[in-house]
Amino acid sequence: MFGKRIDFAGAAGFVAFMAVLPLVFGGNYLIGVLTVSVIYGIWAVSWDFMSGLTGRENFGHSLFIGVGAYTAGFLNTKFGFSGWWSLPASMIAATVFALIIGLPTLRLRGPYFALAMLSGAVIMQRLMLIFWEQTGGEEGINGIEPLIHSQLGFYYFALATLVVTTALLLALARSHWGLILRAIRGDEATCQAAGINVTYYKIASLVISAAFAGAGGALYAHYQLQVSPQLFAVVTSITIITMVYVGGMASIYGPVGGAILLVLLTELLRDFGEWRLMVYSCTLILILFFLPNGLIAPTWRRVKAKLGRPQ
């Protein structure tokens, strides 16, 4: 009970901090960076929900991000839908793709699933280039309208989306539902012996993960006002996986911290702009070696244990 209250206080403190940050320091530049970090947060949490809990590392999360972003781009520029349709539409589109790729591949394990998803993302990226007449090829789709004209307003909207996403997925992960997903990671045969429809839960978790990734993709499209095939790139997925590793796999809230930390950190290294990906890759190696459980979630658990003891 006490642990829950500390969690809640921690979450509230974090949200307040993120909300106040742009008011204190101001400047559109910082708001932009924070917006991007929050969108990465959505992607990292959604990755963790499926991959962290069920233990199937998805190397093609960018597939769902790209699908979400392109859906937003198409609807907004080609069909003239208002930007507000982008969020639900991109979630639906990502869901459809999750079903198409998930149904045949989810029975694969470990590296095989990772590779299948990676292949899916690579195929989509190529298709964007091949059908350049429809998709705009290398340049992608430009002229997407902003969702909210005030930059600060949009940032708050993205932050709210992150909070809702995290709260929902965290609640799910801590329910019996999440327990089943973790059991699937533990042993599929035993799950079946316990009467659990493993396939259903795996598909459902991939669909949920994809839907939120797609929503994040739509937000990103309306932030950049442009989408390009680069969204489907393998590095996008790897960046997200690194963030989750930093945050702490399967903790759901950890990856939010991991995403924000890494985006801010690389902004601090902006003078070394070209070194950004190098920093990510080296971080990943260091984390794999020295902090296999990540940084954020284990730290928070330790803080909680400290606070809990004196009472």
Partner: protein, 284 residues
């Protein structure tokens, strides 16, 4: 027709060189090495750097590049992969991170422009009315010879049979006193050297740039999945199939579709016959 036959053979040969090394290190050490494509890229960049910056003659430059990449492979295996071997996913992550580090290092050193690797043979040959670059024929020939030598090495030498023993049953091999850790390093060196050789040979007619590791690794993976993980003959056959499939698609539809062929083949294969076309049931 003849054109497809020849060019298909060249692509297949390059793919086979990549895939054989990739499947070898998996078969022996159960390591899915995503840094394999980086060895290929480093081979090509090495040849480029030693010839154009250090002005070395091509053959020593090529051999030096291949040797250094083999050493790098041993480093990756010993220092980075070995401590992670308990978890296949950790191996996947660490080798992927290595691939990205290599890509970024190449990018930071050489930029993203295309680089030229000099050709061993620059004249063209005409075979049955079809013009073929000499370098392509050389690549084909060398790859057949190298893979043949590798096969003989594994089948005929003591070290080769130790490698086979480790790949079939690591535990039994360790009872027999075969030092499996040394075997892993040797196989990694061989595998890296083959990939680097592929890079040196194919470099002149491919685009040499920092991201060049990605598609080859996806293709090597595809080939190895189709051929059955860990099976050398399987991967050679699959390399032929993919090499020709891509060439045919390139000629009949459009070259922009060739890249998708192998990736789509992997996906289909994973979905329908995850054990590979010829392989036994792999370690799922």
């Amino acid at each position: 027709m003849l054109e497809i036959l020849i060019h298909g053979a060249v692509s297949s040969a390059i793919y086979a060189m990549l895939a054989v090394g990739f499947t070898l290190i998996f078969g022996v050490a159960r390591v899915l090495n995503l840094a394999h494509g980086s060895f290929y890229a480093l081979g090509a960049y090495g040849a480029y750097y030693f010839t154009s910056h250090l002005h070395m003659p091509l053959l020593p430059a090529a051999l030096l590049a291949i040797g250094l990449v083999a050493l790098f492979g041993v480093f990756v295996e010993k220092v980075l992969v070995r401590p992670m071997r308990r978890s296949q996913l950790a191996v996947l992550m660490i080798t992927l991170a290595v691939a990205l580090v290599v890509e970024q290092a190449l990018f930071l050193t050489f930029g993203s422009e295309y680089r030229n690797v000099p050709e061993f043979v620059s004249r063209k040959f005409t075979i049955g009315g079809v013009d073929v670059g000499g370098q392509r024929l050389l690549a084909l020939g060398v790859s057949v010879v190298l893979i043949g030598l590798l096969w003989l090495f594994i089948q005929r030498t003591r070290l080769g049979s130790a490698i086979l023993a480790v790949s079939q049953d690591p535990e039994a091999a360790s009872y027999m006193g075969i030092p499996s850790d040394r075997i892993f390093s040797i196989v990694m060196a061989l595998s890296a050297a083959l990939a680097a050789a592929a890079g040196v040979l194919a470099g002149p007619f491919l685009t040499v740039q920092p991201t060049m590791w990605l598609l080859p690794i996806v293709k090597a993976f595809a080939i190895v999945i189709v051929g059955g993980l860990g099976s050398i003959p399987g991967s050679i056959l699959a390399a032929l199939m993919l090499g020709y499939a891509e060439t045919i698609v390139g000629y009949t539809i459009s070259t922009s579709w060739t890249e998708i062929v192998s990736v789509a083949a992997t996906l289909l294969m994973l979905v329908f016959r995850p054990a590979g076309m010829f392989g036994k049931r792999a370690a799922f």
